[in-house]
């Protein structure tokens, strides 16, 4: 079985700084992979390389058997990959409903058409409704995205990512800035909505990571230090020393 997403020797340099230093990663269909690592380890950069925001300086990325490194974001999306952003990226002047409806259009084949009315596109409207209900944003459908609360904006951010029913999903810190209870609730929502999808997620909440992920990739200094099941990663001495230990110690101090 070939992986849905395969990274081989991926490097990224910004000037003299090498942020990603040779990453190899194979993600199988239906796996949920959490990417963890200290700040500045290159987690967001890795997502930006996979989703086409930046082109890698070196190496090869394959999505569903097709080479995607260097392709623009829209082309990668069309091959079956969608992503969310750590810093909320929405269509702020548009309503919740319109935000979601935009996200479903391409995958339903409506393209750039200007000879059909949106209101008559049953498939797009039905899928938008379904998304609204799943996200629990039905009562906010006419609200402008910029007027939503922070947690609602995060939910909408997730919704815009899911609208296309893409095979592979990259979620960049979906719970960033949320309270503990909001995070709990939100993670349940993610687990439920992304059933059957291949999921890569950057997440800082270790509780969430160990609960949700099938596999964990530990990224340190632009390299994958470990890529294994949660229990294996927890036992990994190197990871303990480099990251989890420090984290546990830090959390211990806070508690």
């Amino acid at each position: 079985m070939t992986p849905v997403l395969r990274l081989q020797g991926v490097h990224k340099r910004f000037g003299n700084t090498e942020v990603i230093q040779g990453v190899d990663l194979d993600v199988m269909r239906g796996e949920r992979v959490a990417i963890i690592g200290p700040n500045g380890a290159g987690k967001s950069t890795l997502f930006n390389l996979i989703s086409g925001r930046f082109a890698p300086s070196q190496g090869r990325i394959e999505l569903l058997g097709q080479r995607i490194d260097g392709l623009p974001p829209h082309a990668i999306h069309r091959l079956g990959l969608a992503r969310s952003f750590q810093i909320t990226h929405l269509f702020n002047g548009m309503t919740v409903y319109e935000n979601l409806r935009c996200s479903v259009l391409w995958s339903l084949g409506h393209g750039y058409s200007c000879w059909k009315f949106l209101s008559s596109m049953k498939d797009a409207n039905d899928r938008t409704e379904a998304l609204l209900n799943q996200l629990g944003l039905g009562h906010k459908r006419h609200e402008l995205a910029m007027n939503l609360s922070y947690a609602e904006q995060r939910a909408l951010e997730l919704g815009v990512t899911l609208g296309s029913h893409s095979e592979v999903l990259l979620l960049d810190e979906p719970t960033a800035g949320m309270s503990r209870s909001e995070t709990r609730h939100f993670i349940q929502l993610i687990a439920q909505i992304t059933q059957g999808k291949t999921l890569l997620m950057v997440e800082h909440d270790m509780g969430v990571v160990f609960e949700l992920a099938d596999k964990i990739a530990v990224l340190v200094h632009g390299q994958v230090m470990a890529f294994d099941t949660p229990s294996q990663v927890r036992e990994n001495q190197q990871v303990q020393a480099a990251y989890l230990g420090a984290l546990a110690a830090a959390e211990g101090k806070h508690a």
Binding site: H74, A82, H89, R101, S103, L105, G111, C114, L118
Partner: protein, 427 residues
Amino acid sequence: MNPAKPLRADPFAVHPAWRWMFLLAAFMLLAPWVFRSPFAQAVLTQIGIAMVACLSYNILLGQGGMLSFGHAVYTGLGAYMAMHALQSAGSAGWSVPVSLIPLVGGVCGMGFAVVLGYVTTRRSGTTLAMITLGMAELVFAMSLMFTDFFGGEAGLSGNRVQGRALWGIDFKSQTQVYALIAIYTWVCVGLMYAFTQTPLGRLLNAVRDNAERLSFIGYQPQRVRYLAFIISGFFAGVSGGMAVLHFEIVTAEVVGAARSGAYLLFTFLGGSSYFAGPILGAVGMVLSAVLLSEWTAAWLLYLGVLFVAMVMYAPGGLASMGVWHLRWIMQPAASRLWTWYLGCFISAAVAALGAASAIELFYHHQLQSSVGTPLRWLGQSWATDQPMPWALAALILLLGLAGWRFFKRQWDKTWETMAPPRSGAAP
């Protein structure tokens, strides 16, 4: 028993936009009976032409977030091509019916948008604005270089009364021209509204709000901007073609920077965030050019001041001011606000009068005092070399400003006591 058929929705139920379209049609039908003089009908005709131009501009500005300083390129080149079609219809063997001349303008405007827009829409924001400025300069420079095509200083003129008159429609009278242009305007307004309800129209809003995110849901922002630019170019060209039929002359100023600036200014004044905003703007554009310029020599100065004031204090334009008024008038306790509202309104009017008096005095003093004629203003004769008129103007202005300050404060206080926190602030 028959299986229950699903109940159909009311077959006569139509999209609410049709009500507005119907209203517009009714207004267009009644207007020539109310305004009978050829002059008034010429003004109405020009308003129709300006409406299509400003709405087409707002596809870029309001809907797509593309600040263009060169929209007159597309209205203007459309007009030139339409004029050539009109001229050749009069002379050559083949001919385009006069009533289809605006479509010639539209197709040509679209063609120029296909070529020039490809470069323009590669980028967004400031870069795009700079490119449009460059394009406008380029085309204006060409209009002075290629005199065969552009007619040089004198421009080109044509004759709309030609060919076989169908059902006695020969476009000799202004009313017939008005009728033709009203039909074009109505159809174009409808089509441009319909455009906002299509996927491309919505994607254009998305490009305006967050082009990068759009690229991550499968669309190329450049492509969306480019397609919208072409559509905008088509309607701009139609507007240029309509102007050809109305004026029967085209000069280089139709592709000039002042014309582009006017589209920007009045679309903004009307309100670029509402579909109807540019319609209001177009009315203002024609009325100020035709009436205000008759009334005062300083009309461009007033427009400039108005523009600056609107950008600073009411960036949503007339349309959003209208919506704001509706909102507070609908408040249950609105009656408590009326006193203060009228106070604000009157003092603003007084302040404006004072400022206008000062401007008129100044203008007259600078330009006319050597001639020695006193200023005629508000039915009085004002001597600009005496201190009294100046003091009076200053007094009126200060009185108005003081009144505004007082009433505005009262308004704010009352508003705060009654309004729910998030239903918008005072203007």
